[in-house]
């Protein structure tokens, strides 16, 4: 099972982020999610929101060495952005992402705020030979999960909680059942609210393809404590492959 760290580009500063990405690479990760800062990270919880606040990084202005480190290690990187931030200059932004070597993009607000145009947008992204990674949550209706997953062949991102980094009671067993029924044979990465190796073990037993971990790192990034990030990732890698 893959441990997929999430970092917001530009947070907290280039040096710390580079060190964190390098340590993730050295811990053997194979995939990573990189977020572009948003003015309004509406569906994010407090942890991730901090990484966006006042962050001026953008597709045209961020530390390129982050991507070099990832390429050196053969790690696939996926862009996480709010569709609201790119829909005005979609073509330019998509070709920029392509040029930067991103394998795919995850748009957490696409099906929620732009449902009416989502089909068209997905086809458009695919025409640029980028993968649109479907992003589903507990509140995504069954028919939408089926329709959107059938338009794609990539892995799927399934958010377990109502927003990133928070925890409300959840019945994981029924999530597994749902995913099996609606997404047979698909690789599913679970995210939101994943806080430790126990969660990783649980997801592994559910047959998860991966676990996305983001909010957990925010406080360590904030205090420049890359060592803790490295330790957590290495423990999670152990739990994921045990």
């Amino acid at each position: 099972m893959n441990i997929i760290p999430y970092f917001t580009l530009g947070f907290p500063d280039d040096g710390t982020l580079q060190a964190a990405v390098r340590s993730a690479a050295e811990n053997g990760i194979r995939m990573i999610e990189l977020g572009f800062p948003s003015q309004d990270p509406k569906y994010d919880g407090p942890g991730i929101r901090k990484t966006h606040a006042g962050n001026r990084a953008s597709m045209d202005a961020f530390d390129p060495s982050i991507l070099s480190i990832l390429r050196e290690h053969g790690i696939s990187y996926y862009a996480l952005l709010y569709y609201s931030e790119i829909h005005d200059s979609l073509d330019r932004k998509l070709s920029r992402l392509k040029e930067l070597g991103f394998s795919g993009i995850i748009l957490p607000d696409l099906l929620i705020d732009f449902f009416g145009e989502s089909r068209e947008v997905i086809l458009h992204i695919q025409a640029q030979s980028l993968e649109l990674i479907p992003f589903f949550t507990q509140a995504t209706p069954d028919a939408v999960i089926s329709d959107v997953s059938q338009m794609t062949s990539s892995w799927i991102y399934y958010g377990l909680q109502p927003s990133t980094g928070i925890i409300v009671p959840l019945d994981l067993a029924s999530v597994t059942q749902r995913v099996k029924a609606l997404l047979p044979g698909r690789d599913v990465v679970y995210g939101f609210g994943i806080r430790g190796t126990e969660d990783i073990k649980m997801l592994r037993s559910m047959g998860a393809y991966g676990a996305a971990v983001g909010s957990l790192f925010v406080k360590y990034l904030g205090s420049g404590d890359v060592e803790s990030i490295s330790r957590i990732l290495s423990e999670m890698e152990v739990a994921a492959s045990a």
């Binding site: 509406k42 569906y43 919880g45 509140a139 995504t140 069954d142 939408v144 009671p169 029924s174």
Partner: protein, 418 residues
């Protein structure tokens, strides 16, 4: 096992529409960079209820004990044909009404108060707190907490508190403490009072006070409407209706209900939304609180203090303070997210009714069917009558949800406004 023959009509499961919606339900939002107001719900809402709030499960099993209590408080409620009303209106189709006023507390509110109190008791919680506008929700909370041996407290919107002493008396009989809101018991209440000593109160303010009290005392907050889990519990209205119609060999063409926070209406119609037949669903609101007509579909706070998360819904603004209270239960600024979504998509239409028309409708309904319905429910009746008057020859089968009785609201008949 239930003791009566009603086993067939009272469903085994509640229905949750979220996995069947035509597009994703926007999640609640918390814009605080330090603490999530979504996570805060863990501190004031029983775990099982919170799980139901965010679940995609289409069916949730009704615990046996809750089903038994449902029977005890008068479920299934009657579904009757309004023959006299049909005659009076000269209607060539059929009119049915589901009568939630037949429950012990007189409205649909008990349908969710019972499971909420049950889950609180199951989780070892000893006290519950909530707000009430017209008093129906407070009464339901009072009875449900009495049934489960819980201590209870209700912040009652001040105008209602002053105008409806009998409501307060009922809650007191059930053992509930009733406090007028805004009150000096919470810091939010004090801040409102410091600006206006005679503030009439609003549901938004009373919710804030109840939530603050729950956070401070570790008691559990009871959700009266708006939230998904509440609507799931209220689906019992629609599920029973469907079964009762089936037994009578009928199918609805038009369904009409009133909307405050949206719980009785959504509970009534949601089980029918996915049906292949085209059913017209009409949400009736007070013209003084025209949330669907004049409100904006946007993220807005549930409560005035903004302690709870924001929800994507039709809203007139969380600071909205209605001036009069003839139908206190319809005075909420917003409406449940799933209902709002279906109104936005046009699946559900809306109608706004003036008080005078409501009073006329209530009189017509009392004189034909014998029931003095709640002023809130009067909107549903008025909208149905409007529909019938403009579709006399349609032969459609109309089903109206009468969310409560109006025996505690008779004052509205003596001060007719023009």
């Amino acid at each position: 096992m239930l003791k009566s023959q009603e086993d067939e009509v009272i469903p085994q499961n509640w229905y949750n529409i979220v996995p069947d919606l035509p597009e994703p339900l926007p999640p609640p939002r918390s814009d605080d960079d330090q603490n999530s107001s979504i996570e805060l719900l863990n501190r004031i809402i029983p775990k099982e209820l919170l799980r139901q709030e965010f679940t995609f499960n289409r069916y949730e099993r009704i615990p046996d004990e809750v089903r038994e209590k449902y029977e005890m408080i008068g479920r299934p409620t009657p579904l009757l044909r309004a023959v006299n009303l049909e005659k009076l209106l000269g209607y060539s189709g059929k009119i049915f009404y589901k009568y939630e006023g037949a429950t012990i507390t007189g409205s649909h509110k008990i349908n969710t108060a019972i499971p909420q109190a049950y889950y609180a008791r199951e989780e070892g919680i000893s006290e519950v707190v909530t707000e009430t506008g017209a008093g129906q929700w407070g009464t339901a909370t009072a009875l449900a907490s009495a049934l489960y041996g819980l201590k209870s407290k209700v912040f009652m919107v001040r105008v209602s508190f002053d105008q409806k002493p009998m409501r307060k008396a009922i809650m007191n009989v059930y053992g509930t403490e009733v406090v007028p809101s805004p009150s000096s018991e919470t810091s939010y209440g004090r801040s409102v009072l410091s600006q206006d000593r005679n503030h009439p109160g609003s549901l938004g303010i009373a919710i804030s006070e109840a939530v603050e009290y729950a956070l401070d005392t570790g008691s559990s907050y009871m959700l009266g409407s708006v939230m998904n889990s509440v609507i799931t519990h209220q689906s019992i209205i629609g599920l029973e209706t469907r079964k009762q119609l089936e037994i009578m060999g009928e199918q609805p063409d038009v369904m009409v209900g009133c909307v405050g926070g949206g719980s009785n209406f959504s509970g009534f119609v949601f089980p029918f939304v996915g049906e292949s037949r085209n059913i017209e669903m009409i949400a009736s609101t007070a013209i003084e609180v025209p949330k669907f007509r004049d409100g904006e579909y946007k993220y807005d706070f549930i409560d005035s203090a903004g302690i709870l998360p924001r929800l994507r819904m039709y809203s007139l603004g969380a600071g909205f303070v209605p001036d009069r209270i003839y139908a206190g239960g319809l005075r909420y600024h917003g409406a449940a997210p799933a209902l709002s979504l279906l109104v936005k998509r046009g699946t559900i239409t809306h109608d706004e009714v003036h008080e005078n028309e409501v009073i006329d409708a209530l009189k017509i309904f009392s004189r034909t069917q014998g029931i003095i319905a709640a002023p809130e429910s009067g909107h549903a009746i008025a909208s149905a009558i409007r529909y019938i008057r403009s579709n006399k020859e349609s032969r459609k089968t109309i089903v109206i949800n009468i969310s409560g009785h109006g025996l505690m609201d008779l004052g509205i008949f003596s001060k007719r406004v023009t």
